[in-house]
Amino acid sequence: MQYYLLIPFLPFAAFLINILFGRSFIKDKAHWVAILAVGGSWVVSVATLVDVLSGKTLNENLYTWILSGGFKVSVGFLIDQLTTVMLIVVTTCSTLIHIYSAGYMHGDKGYYRFFSYLSLFTFCMLMLVMANNFLQLYFGWEGVGLCSYFLIGYYFNKKSASDAGKKAFIVNRFGDFGFGLGIIVIFLTFGTVYYAPVFSQAGAFAAKTVNFLGYDVHLMTLVALLLFCGSIGKSAQMPLHVWLPDAMEGPTPVSALIHAATMVTAGVFLVARCNPIFSLSETALTVVALTGAITSLFAATIGLVQNDLKRIIAYSTVSQLGYMFLACGVGAYTAGIFHLYTHAFFKALLFLCAGSVMHAMAGELDIQKMGGLKKYMPVTYLTMLIASFSIAGVPGLAGFFSKDEILWLAYSSPNPTGKVVWLIGTFVAFLTAFYSFRLIFLTFHGTFRGTHEQEHHLHESPKSMTVPLMLLCVGAVASGWVGIPHLLGGGAHFTEFMKPVLGHPEGHGTHAEEWMVMGISVAVGFSGIGLAYYMYMVRKELPARLAAQFSGVYKVLFNKYYVDELYSFILIRPTIWIAKNVLIGITDAKIIEAIVNGVPAAIGGFSSQLRRIQTGRLHHYATIMATGILIIVAWMLLR
C-alpha cells in the first residue's frame, strides 16, 4: 500500500513545478499541473479509503528526521479511519476548489503563484493529517499556516491583505507556542513523540501530577491544554479567533479551502487525534467544550450584524468550529469529526457561491448593496440556498445530521457541562439559521441596491466555477447520509467506522429525549429562517429600527466586541512602546551605551587633565621628581 505516498507528494511535485517554471514557462497553464496532481491524490485517497474500509491500516516511517541524544523522530505516515476521512475531505475540496479557481483566478498576473501555493497548501495539509508523530504534525501545522499567510496576503500590494496575512501567522504562533511546549512535555513524559506509544501509554499517567513552573499540575490536563492552545489558534477559537475574519482578504477559493473546509478544522482534528489524552482529563474536556460553546455563540452574535458577505460566512465558520469543539468537549469526537466532514462541504460551497457573487459584483462584498441577484445567477442562488438550508439544519441535509448528533450527545453526556453547552448550541443553531438566511435574503431577494454599471455587469459565473458548485452541493446534501442515526433507522455508519480511533460515547437518554432534542433543533432552525424572512422580506425597516434602538449592543456586535482594539491596546502598542522608549531609549542608550562610551570619555578627560601636569617648566619637573623621591624615601623608611 506504498502508493499512499503519492497522496502528499503529487501536490508537492505540482508545487515545485509551478514555483520553479511557472513564471517563465507554464504561465497560464499552471492550473493543469495543479489540478492533475490534486486530482491524482484524490483518486489515491479514495483507493486508500477502500483499503481502510477493508480494515487495513498503516503506520510506518520514511526516514529519521531528527536524532539527538534520546530524541528521535522520523518522517512517517499513519493511515487509519480518521486519517482517511480527512484525506477524503481535503482532497475532494481541494480538487474542486482547484477547478473553481482555474475560472475564478483567470487572467490574474500571479496565476502560477496562486496555484503553486494552493498545491503547497494541499501538501502540507496532507502531511498534517497523515503524520504518525507530533513533530511531523507540527510541520504540517506550520506549513498550512505559512500557505495561509501567503494566500491571505496574495494581493500583497494591498496593505490590508498583507496585514491580514501577517496577523494570521503571528496569532497562530501564539497558539503554536503552547502546542510546541505540549510536544516537549509529551517527549519528556513518554520519551517519544510517536502517536502509537504515546496513546498506548497515556493511561499509565492518568493520575500523575508534575511540577510545571513551580506548580503541581495534573500531567494529562497540562498536556491536553497545551495541545489545545494549538487548536485554539489554528481553529480560530476565542480568544485567538481574530485572524480568521481578516483572512477574508485572500481570494475567495482560498477562504473556501483553507479558512472553511480544511486548515481551520485541523484544530478539531488535533483534539480528535489526541482523544486518548483528552479523555483522561475532565478539566481539559470541560475547557474544550466551554471554549467551543462560547466561541460559537460569540461568533454567531457578531455574524448577525455584519454586512460583508465573506465575513458573515467567516463568523459562521468560527461558530461552526466552536460547535465541533463543543462536540469533542463532551467526548463526542466522532460527532465533531462528522460535523467537520459535512461542514467542509456546505461551508466551502457557501464560500464558493460568495465568490461567484463577488465575481458577478466585480469584487463588491457589501450585502447592503446587493439584492435580487437570483434572477441573474440562478445556479449560484440555488446552490447557496441549499448550503444555507444545510447549515441551518434542515432535516435530511448534511448539516442536520451532524449538528443533531452533536446536540444530542451534548445533551445526553454524563458531563455536567453537557446540558449547558447543549443550551448554548441550540441557541446558536437558531442564530446560525437566522444570519445565514439574512444573507440569502439580502443578497438574492428583493431589488438590486447596487450601482447601474454593477447591474449591467451582473452575470452567472462560467462553467469552471458553477460545476464545482453543483458537485459540492451534492456533498452538502448527501454527505450527511453516511451518518444517519439509528433513531431515524439509519446505520450510523460513520460512527461505527470511526469507533476504532475515536471510540463512541454512550448517550444516557431515552428515545423520547432524543426525539425532543432533534425536534427542538429543527424547530429553532426553522424559526431562525422564519425570523430572517420576517425581518428582511416582510418588514424591511425593522432591522434599522432595532439597530437604532439597541444601538449600544449593535455597535459592540458590529465592532466584534472590540477584541482587535483590545489586543492592540494591551499587547501590541505597549510592546513597541517598551521597545522604543525603554529598551532602546533607556537600557541601551542611557545605561549600557552610557557606560560603554562614558568610560573612554572619562579616560580621555582624565588624560587631558593629567597632561596639564607636564607644564614644560623645568622647576615643576624637578619638584615633581623630588616629591616623588621624598615620598618613596619617607614611605620606605617609615614602613
Partner: protein
C-alpha cells in the same frame, strides 16, 4: 711593585668600539661626504658585533663582567646604532646638522651603554652611565639652531645631572655601609652582616632605583621624557627611546638582582607602585597627544612600565622576558620612528598626528608599515609586540603578581586606543595635503630590518627567547 696586565679578552668589543669611534672622529676631518661616515660607523659596529663571540669572561677583578646578560643587551645596543644611523643619513641632512661628530657621539654613547651593561662595579657603572648620558645630552641638543632642540637638551641635561647626583649619593652610602663598590661583594656583605633591614641601605637602594628609573623614564622621574623626545632630532629620539632605556634596565637588573638581591622585598615594594604609575600615566596621557613624537614618548614611558614587570618578577624568566621585550621594542619603536622621519622633509615637519590623515591612500606602503608597528606596539598577534608582552605577563604571573598583570593588560587595552588612532587617521580619513615622503635606500633598509624583526619574532620567537633565557642563568 709589579704591574700585572689584566685579561683584556672580555673587553675586546669595547676596545674595538673605542678605536673605531676615534677613527671615525678622525675620518670626519678628511671625508667630506658624511654619508660615508654613516656607512663606516655601521661597518664599525658590525665589526664590534663580530667580536662578541668568545669575549665571555670577567676582567679587572670583577669590575667588568662580559656574560650572556650583557651580551644580549649589547646586541640590542648594536641594533639600536645600526637602525639609528640608517634612519639618520638623510634626516640630519634635512635638519642641516650633517656633522661627522654625530656618528662619533652615537658610537661613544653606545660604548657607554655597553660598559653599563657589563659593569660589575658601581664606579664603572657610574662612569659608563655618564659616558652614555653626556653623549646623549649633546645629541639631544644637536640641532643648535633649533630652540626646541636646545630646550630638550637643557631639560634632559639638568634633570639627568640631578638624578645622577642621587645615584652618587646612593653609591657612596652603599660604599660606606659595605666598604666595597663591587656588586658581588656588596650582596655578599649584606647577606653576611645582616644589613637587610638597615634604613641607610634602604635609602641608598631607593636613590639608585631613582637614578635608574630616571634613565628608563619611569613615573614620576619621566618628566624630561616628553619634552626631550619631542625636541631632540627625531633620529636621536628613536635612539634615546631604545638605547639609554635598555641600558638603564641592564644596570637596574644587574644591581637589583646581583648586588641588592638580599633586599628584594624592599625594592619590589618601590618598583610596583612605580610600575603601575608608569603604565598608567604613560598610556593615559598618550591618549590626548597631538604630536606623534610626544605620543610615542608617552608610549615609551608606558612600555618601560611593562618591562618593569620583568624586573619586579625578579626571576630568571622575569629578566629574560624584560630583555626580550626591550629587543622587540627596539624593532617596533625605531620602525615607527623611521616612518615618522620619512614624513620630515624640507619645510615640512610632519610630526603632528594630523599630518597622517589619509596616508594610507597617498602612500599605502609606508602607512601599512606604520600599521604593523602600531599593532605591534599595541601587542596584537602575530606581531612581536604580543610575544614580548605575553612573556612578560607570563613571567610576572608565575612570580605571583597576578593582579599586577591584570592592571597591565587593562592598560595595554587602553593603549590600543591611541595606537589605533594613528591607524584610523591614516586609513579612515581623507588626505588633506599631499605629503612627499623622503625615501632613501638606507631608510628603506631600516624599515626592512624592523619589519622583518617585528614579523619574524612575532611568528618564530623561539630563538630570541632561548637567547634571553640562556643569557641569565
Amino acid at each position: 711593585m709589579q704591574f700585572l696586565m689584566p685579561d683584556i679578552r672580555p673587553l675586546v668589543p669595547e676596545i674595538v668600539m673605542t678605536v673605531l669611534a676615534l677613527a671615525i672622529l678622525l675620518a670626519d676631518l678628511v671625508i667630506k661626504r658624511k654619508e660615508t661616515l654613516a656607512t663606516l660607523s655601521i661597518i664599525c659596529v658590525v665589526l664590534v658585533a663580530s667580536t662578541f663571540s668568545g669575549s665571555l669572561g670577567t676582567s679587572f677583578g670583577g669590575m667588568f663582567l662580559s656574560d650572556g646578560y650583557s651580551m644580549f643587551f649589547k646586541i640590542v645596543f648594536i641594533l639600536n646604532v645600526i637602525l639609528t644611523v640608517l634612519i639618520s643619513v638623510k634626516y640630519i641632512g634635512v635638519e642641516k646638522v650633517n656633522f661627522g661628530e654625530y656618528y662619533g657621539l652615537i658610537l661613544f654613547s653606545t660604548l657607554g651603554m655597553m660598559i653599563m651593561a657589563s659593569a660589575g662595579d658601581l664606579i664603572v657603572l657610574y662612569l659608563g652611565l655618564e659616558l652614555m648620558a653626556l653623549s646623549t645630552y649633546i645629541l639631544a641638543g644637536f640641532i643648535r639652531h633649533d630652540i626646541r632642540s636646545n630646550e630638550a637638551a637643557i631639560k634632559y641635561f639638568l634633570l639627568g645631572a640631578f638624578a645622577s647626583a642621587f645615584l652618587l649619593y646612593g653609591t657612596s652610602m652603599i660604599y660606606g655601609l659595605t666598604g666595597t663598590t663591587n656588586l658581588a661583594a656588596i650582596s655578599e656583605y649584606i647577606k653576611q652582616h645582616g644589613l637587610t633591614g638597615n634604613p641607610l641601605l634602604t635609602l641608598s637602594m631607593v636613590f639608585l632605583v631613582i637614578a635608574f628609573s630616571f634613565k628608563i623614564a619611569a613615573v614620576p622621574f619621566h618628566m624630561w621624557t616628553p619634552d626631550a623626545y619631542e625636541g631632540a632630532p627625531t633620529s636621536i629620539t628613536a635612539f634615546m627611546s631604545v638605547g639609554p632605556k635598555a641600558a638603564g634596565f641592564a644596570v637596574m637588573g644587574r644591581v637589583l638582582l646581583y648586588a641588592l638581591y638580599p633586599i628584594k622585598p624592599m625594592w619590589t615594594s618601590v618598583l610596583i607602585p612605580v610600575a603601575i604609575l608608569t603604565m598608567g600615566v604613560g598610556n593615559i596621557v598618550a591618549i590626548s597627544q597631538t604630536n606623534i613624537k610626544r605620543m610615542l614618548a608617552y608610549s615609551s614611558i608606558a612600555h618601560a612600565g611593562y618591562a618593569l614587570l620583568g624586573v619586579i618578577a625578579g626571576t630568571a624568566d622575569g629578566l629574560a622576558s624584560m630583555m626580550t621585550y626591550l629587543l622587540i621594542y627596539a624593532f617596533m619603536n625605531i620602525g615607527a620612528f623611521a616612518v615618522i622621519i620619512m614624513l620630515r622633509s624640507e619645510g615640512f615637519k610632519g610630526d603632528m598626528i594630523s599630518d597622517y590623515e589619509g596616508l594610507w591612500h597617498t602612500h599605502p606602503g609606508a602607512a601599512s608599515l606604520m600599521i604593523v608597528f602600531m599593532f605591534s606596539l599595541t601587542g596584537i598577534p602575530p606581531t612581536a609586540g604580543f610575544m614580548g608582552k605575553f612573556y612578560l605577563f607570563a613571567s610576572a604571573v608565575s612570580a605571583g603578581y597576578m593582579w599586577l598583570v591584570i592592571v597591565a593588560v587593562i592598560f595595554s587595552a587602553i593603549s590600543a586606543y591611541f595606537y589605533l588612532r594613528i591607524v584610523m587617521f591614516m586609513c579612515m580619513r581623507e588626505p588633506r595635503q599631499t605629503v612627499a615622503l623622503s625615501i632613501s635606500p638606507s631608510i628603506s633598509l631600516a624599515l626592512a630590518i624592523t619589519l622583518a624583526g617585528v614579523i619574524v619574532i612575532g611568528v618564530l620567537p623561539a630563538q630570541v627567547v632561548n637567547l634571553a633565557r640562556i643569557a641569565f642563568p
